[in-house]
Point group: C2
Chain length 242, copies 2
């Protein structure tokens, strides 16, 4: 069970625009559905010092941290070293991972592939059916590959351990612009200070100008706030509620 | 002219998976084409303290910083307040922006819309043809709206001021997996330590398994390194060079 999460996307390819990250958006959606509040996403280069500093900060700030990228066999795969450094631990070769690697690659195991058996000392392996390599965690940090298919497969198999109470979300589509409804929103928040209230303008939709989102883990609170909002908004301004 | 950049994407809607950010990927691509090295992207909530801390850190670390989001008229638009706090300055209403706002909205200017005339004290306005509202900067921080169309329009009109020497990029598509070419890449980097060398596995492509990228601001250096790489890779393993 996790209440807050941070996501660290690692890779020069993202920051130089060669590859567009899709893992952050995937994890954010999945974690939200699990009831976990993602507090921060960081995208950083393949740089041991930067990874160490970011993972250390995230590990202290959030219940759980997910990293993506930098765990392959080549020179630019330095995530393991960075995370080890974050926790002041050494990088070691795991005999368990080496056994799995050798059973997959047989005679094709070389120094480069053996790099993939390296983990920060004290790492925990989470083996689930369907994974040929276990998911690896250190303290509250879960280390995922950057390849989207592999990340999704691994996350999917271990995600239940993060499940928390779900969010309840209602949406209200409004025909007036933000400038004309801001006062209603402020009034609503004075009465419902715990409500997570979002206001998102939409330039190109024919039927509405703003999508409002009302969210809480308390369903009754959201429903009562929704009723109040519908009374506060200018008459005839609501296009749809969902 | 800017050598390094940081991007701060602000908005609860991104972190809760309601809206997928497209601004980071856009800015990264554009900045790379301009020859600017994006060092970090951060996605954070609509929270004044968090914005202030992040913008302050980015402003010290990078030549130029771009923020996206949180500049509208509603309660969750707190970017201006956060950035003011980052620089220890006050939020003030700009008479210049108010004049522009009144000439656009006429009688429809209310308290909510006037919020959009607020800027950190000492902000600089960059008026360019085609912008009804100027781009706003404070120190080395450029403040952009989160709506992708508006961000692109503003960035496009001011981007030339960030142009630096361009990157030269060559790509090599290889039929062998990373585990079989890692030694060649390590050998290349020993000879060309300044080369930006990326290695990106591709699971689903018929014709190749890895895309290698060679990059530098020195064209001759990239070309020489490319020649050497082609000699180092296993014979017959190159699918294509571009």
């Amino acid at each position: 069970m996790a209440k807050t999460a941070g996501i660290v996307i690692i890779g020069n390819e993202i920051l130089s625009g060669k590859v567009q990250d899709v893992n952050a958006a995937y994890l954010v959606r999945e974690l939200r559905l699990l009831g976990v509040d993602v507090k921060k996403i960081s995208m950083i280069p393949d740089d041991i010092e930067v990874i160490a500093a970011e993972v250390s900060a995230f590990s202290h700030q959030f219940d759980v941290v997910f990293t993506s990228g930098g765990v392959g066999p080549t020179h630019d795969d330095v995530t393991i070293e960075g995370i080890a450094k974050a926790f002041g631990s050494r990088v070691v070769r795991s005999p368990e991972l080496e056994r799995l690697l050798r059973s997959r690659y047989g005679g094709n195991v070389n120094e480069a592939r053996l790099k993939m058996t390296e983990v920060p000392e004290g790492a925990v392996f989470i083996s689930e059916d369907g994974l040929w390599l276990p998911a690896v965690s250190v303290e509250n940090v879960y280390i995922f590959p950057g390849i989207p298919d592999l990340l999704r497969q691994k996350f999917d198999l271990i995600k239940e351990r993060f499940r928390d109470q779900p969010y309840v979300l209602r949406r209200v589509y409004v025909k007036e612009g933000e400038g004309n409804i801001a006062a209603s929103l402020n009034a609503l928040l004075r009465e419902f200070p715990e409500l997570m209230l979002g206001s998102y303008p939409e330039l190109h939709h024919r039927d509405y100008k703003v999508m409002l989102t009302l969210e809480s883990k308390d369903e009754g609170y959201v429903q009562t706030a929704l009723g109040r909002l519908l009374a506060l908004l200018p008459q005839g301004s609501v296009h749809q509620v969902s």
